[in-house]
């Protein structure tokens, strides 16, 4: 059995993973990255708009924290939010010192621009391809430091001990499938495993996310016993191209782009969706406004609205938003210098994820998570544009340092089932959620496996068995299951949600789970078997979809990105709490934990969110 041993193993090499690896390496750890895509192929590269950081006079971290809290609709945890706002400037300057080609002002300093929901223009950017530059700059640093990267290794299981109480478990590594050779190898991490597997947009069929964004991290951690948090909060981006889901950056609206409906009305103002901020209101507001326009018959082709930037003038567009021209042309066949671009909302970002504290640590010892797959929670119920990239570098760096053994002080955000404040008692689900049989857990359930090396070996064995079965048996192809799942999610667990739809979704998910039992891989090859990989991913999608839907069904209110037809009001008296779901060895346990509004210097007072 091939077994690689390192101090710290980082799973995923997007912005969060790279930053974590560099941080751990700087603390002297022997760190390795294991990633299913080569690092530069990670979806961080797709981020366009920018990184929020309070860098300039007139701005400070407290304003940033305040905006973030307000944007989160008071569902963010103050210790995490404040950490984000405090560390972000330093991290951004660090990127600059690593050579990241930021856009520049006349005086040679990095440029910042206004972004939705921000009280100060603090979104630092590099053209309209900020994520691309961030990703490549950090990968360059990884090359410079000679950090070992196992690329095209698909991590399919964590090696976690099998104590009954998840909070007593520890993580000793993970199991990966070497995509090129088909070998299943063990990774033993002496100091910690950091999950940085990114988004899970593939749960939906219209998304700005990559095909590789399948929520592997949350699903693996969830099955290993880490609760997932606030899963119902999925952000839909208001401006994606209808045919592909390719994102048109908020930068377009930041620079002055205007949204029109079929009648040529500037609906954000005309229909009072956001009388002050207009097009720059936060994403959920704009996304719902667009869908309302479409639903009320004022959309174009009953599908989308127009985003117009022609009035900005060719020079300014070419200077600041050049890549938008190419995106619209290549993926939608529209020249935005000549005509307005069609746009509609698409799944974009998942606020929820693996529960961690502001040091990136989960309730399982030695298991960390950072980036989009994690939930610290800095975004609460709604992420502000430009706040994910700082999350990657701030929390990525902290997770890396902490895993490498640096003392970051006691975390302010409690984790694990012990942080539970109340149980959800009367959730009425049409079908039983969770595993079909109790065996579906990723931890061995047969006694005290605690020797690290045994735990890893056991996990490798279990995974080999699973893969062998998938390859050998005959059965259905996962692609149909995935498609049905995605359709059901888009139809029922979208921007607009109601009880019937959510219940229908749960039924479909259950059905998918049942069909998945007979799934088989028809490609017998061990070389680059993407059929196998996609099949394993589909299982993760099912688990993630289920948690999203369960959370959405439980939350009887309208907050941030989560809107319920029956409850169109934010209900602070009852719902200032996080929705938590623990796998609980196959019979999911839904419970709540309080939101922390108590900041370093102040208490955040929930206010009505109006832009």
């Amino acid at each position: 059995m091939t077994l690689h041993e390192h101090d710290v193993i980082v799973v995923g090499a997007g912005g969060a993973g790279l930053r974590a690896a560099i941080a751990a390496h700087e603390e002297g750890s022997d760190v390795a990255m294991v990633t299913k895509l080569h690092p530069v192929r990670s979806h961080t590269g797709a981020a366009e708009g920018g990184i929020n950081a309070a860098l300039r006079d007139g701005d400070d971290w407290e304003l940033h924290a305040y905006d973030t809290m307000k944007g989160s609709d008071y569902l963010g945890d103050a210790p995490a939010i404040e950490t984000l706002a405090q560390d972000s400037p330093e991290e951004v300057i660090q990127l600059e010192h690593w050579g990241m080609p930021f856009s520049r002002e006349e005086d040679g300093r990095v440029s910042q621009r206004p972004f939705g929901g921000l009280s100060f223009p603090r979104t630092t950017y590099a053209g309209a391809e900020t994520g691309h530059h961030l990703l490549h700059t950090m990968y360059e640093q990884v090359v410079k430091r000679g950090i070992k990267v196992y690329d095209e290794f698909y991590v399919s299981r964590l090696a976690v001990t099998d104590h009954d109480d998840p909070e007593e478990r520890s993580c000793h590594g993970c199991v990966a499938y070497d995509i090129k050779s088909g070998e299943i190898v063990g990774f033993r991490a002496t100091d910690g495993v950091i999950l940085a597997t990114g988004g899970d947009g593939q749960v939906y069929d219209h998304t700005t996310n990559a095909v590789a964004n399948t929520g592997d991290g949350p699903a693996m951690a969830y099955r290993a016993g880490v609760p997932v948090e606030d899963m119902e909060f999925v952000q839909f981006h208001p401006t994606t191209l209808p045919s592909t889901g390719v994102l048109i950056s908020e930068g377009v609206r930041g620079e002055g782009g205007i949204l029109y409906n079929r009648e040529g009305e500037r609906f954000m103002f005309e229909y009072g969706y956001a009388n002050n901020a207009g097009e720059l209101a936060s994403r959920d507001v704009v996304a719902r406004a667009e869908l309302t326009e479409v639903n009320e018959g004022r959309g174009i082709n009953d599908e989308y609205v127009y985003l117009d930037m022609r009035h900005l003038g060719e020079e300014r567009i070419v200077d600041r938003l050049e890549n938008i021209i190419h995106l619209a042309e290549d993926f939608e066949g529209v020249d935005p210098l000549v005509e307005p671009m069609p746009v509609k909302p698409g799944q974009h970002y998942h606020m929820g994820g693996i529960e961690t504290d502001e040091n990136g640590e989960t309730c399982i010892e030695g298991l960390y998570a950072a980036g989009e797959c994690a939930c610290a929670s800095v975004h609460g119920s709604n992420r502000l544009g430009g706040n994910a990239l700082p999350e990657l570098i701030v929390l990525g760096a902290r997770a890396g340092r902490h895993a490498a053994g640096t003392d970051l002080g006691e975390a302010g955000v409690p984790t694990g089932p012990s942080a539970k404040s109340e149980d959800e008692t009367d959730l009425d689900t049409p079908v039983q959620p969770g595993a079909l049989d109790v065996d579906d857990s990723d931890v061995a359930a047969d006694g005290a496996l605690v020797e690290p090396i045994d735990v890893v070996e056991h996990a490798v064995e279990a995974e080999r068995e699973r893969v062998r079965q998938l390859l050998e048996r005959d059965g259905t192809n996962h692609a149909e299951i995935r498609e049905d799942l995605q359709k059901a999610m888009t139809e029922n667990v979208n921007v607009f949600r109601n009880e019937d739809g959510l219940k229908r979704a749960l039924e479909v998910i259950r059905e998918c789970r049942e069909r998945y039992q007979d799934v088989a891989v028809s490609d017998p090859s061990r070389t680059f078997n993407t059929d196998l990989i996609h099949t394993i991913e589909t299982r993760n999608l099912i688990d993630v979809a289920e948690t999203i839907t369960l959370g959405a069904l439980a939350r009887n209110e309208f907050r941030g990105a989560h809107w319920r037809q029956e409850y169109q009001e934010r209900r602070d008296d009852e719902w200032l709490k996080h929705t938590m779901i623990a796998w609980n060895d196959g019979s999911p346990d839904l419970y709540y934990k309080p939101v922390i509004l108590e900041g370093e210097n102040k208490e955040y007072e929930p206010k009505v969110r109006s832009y």
Binding site: V40, E96, T244, L247, D330, T527
Partner: protein
Amino acid sequence: MSTQITETETETETESTHQKRRLAEKHARADMRERAKADLSEAEESVKIKVFRYDPEVEGKKDPRFDTFRVPFTKGMTILDALIYARDHFDSSLTFRHSCRQAICGSDALFVNGRQRLGCKTQMSDLEWPVRIEPLPHAEVVKDLVVDMEHFYDQMESVEPFFQTNEIPSGELEEQRQTRENREKVKMSTRCIWCAACMSSCNIAAGDNEYLGPAAINKAYRFAMDEREGEEMKEHRLNIIEQEHGVWRCQTQFSCTVVCPKDIPLTEHIQELKREAVKSNLKFW
């Protein structure tokens, strides 16, 4: 090449010519689409793709062959869409790399109808049908459309592809200044998505496996031309690209520039480095 200012002027000039080129290409494509539409109304709305297949482990695929799939054609369909359709509906063992679907991850550079293209960025309607899809030439095929990228990565990483400077400002939260002109100058070169289309298209790279290749040289350019690194580092960078298998190997065949999906003026960058190298060598005399 005189001062910085004129440099940027040329830079923006090429930029706008790029734009013009793209515009011209767009019109050509529009025409083509019209024609394709006309053809379609007669034919059934499906397109044939011929896909290269190879798998060292599977009987019947050990000898490379072409498989033909007939996929329903929809407006706006890309090569990648067609491949995904064929995989999900006809043969789940059809293997190719892809991820972002938006020309940013660089996974799906393929050899389509005799030219290196990104699958996700190429409209089906812009091509002659049936469409022939092969893995990138000049690279070893791992399976079907997947090629071994190791060599490309090695070349990319051999040019010290990371920022190096001794001039980091000491003040807290202080960035290194960079003029807008300088940022403009390196802008195009920073767009590379490591897709290897250029390397695959270059005859020289095919003949000389050690040739750094256009993408790696472009990467070196990105740093050599970044004023924040300082003069000394620039010398060092020029030494790197001047090596035996460096810039001098380039025979200005331009195919790299033609195929680059990010419109990076690769040949221009390589040529500029040659001139810079000659200039810095002349100083030794």
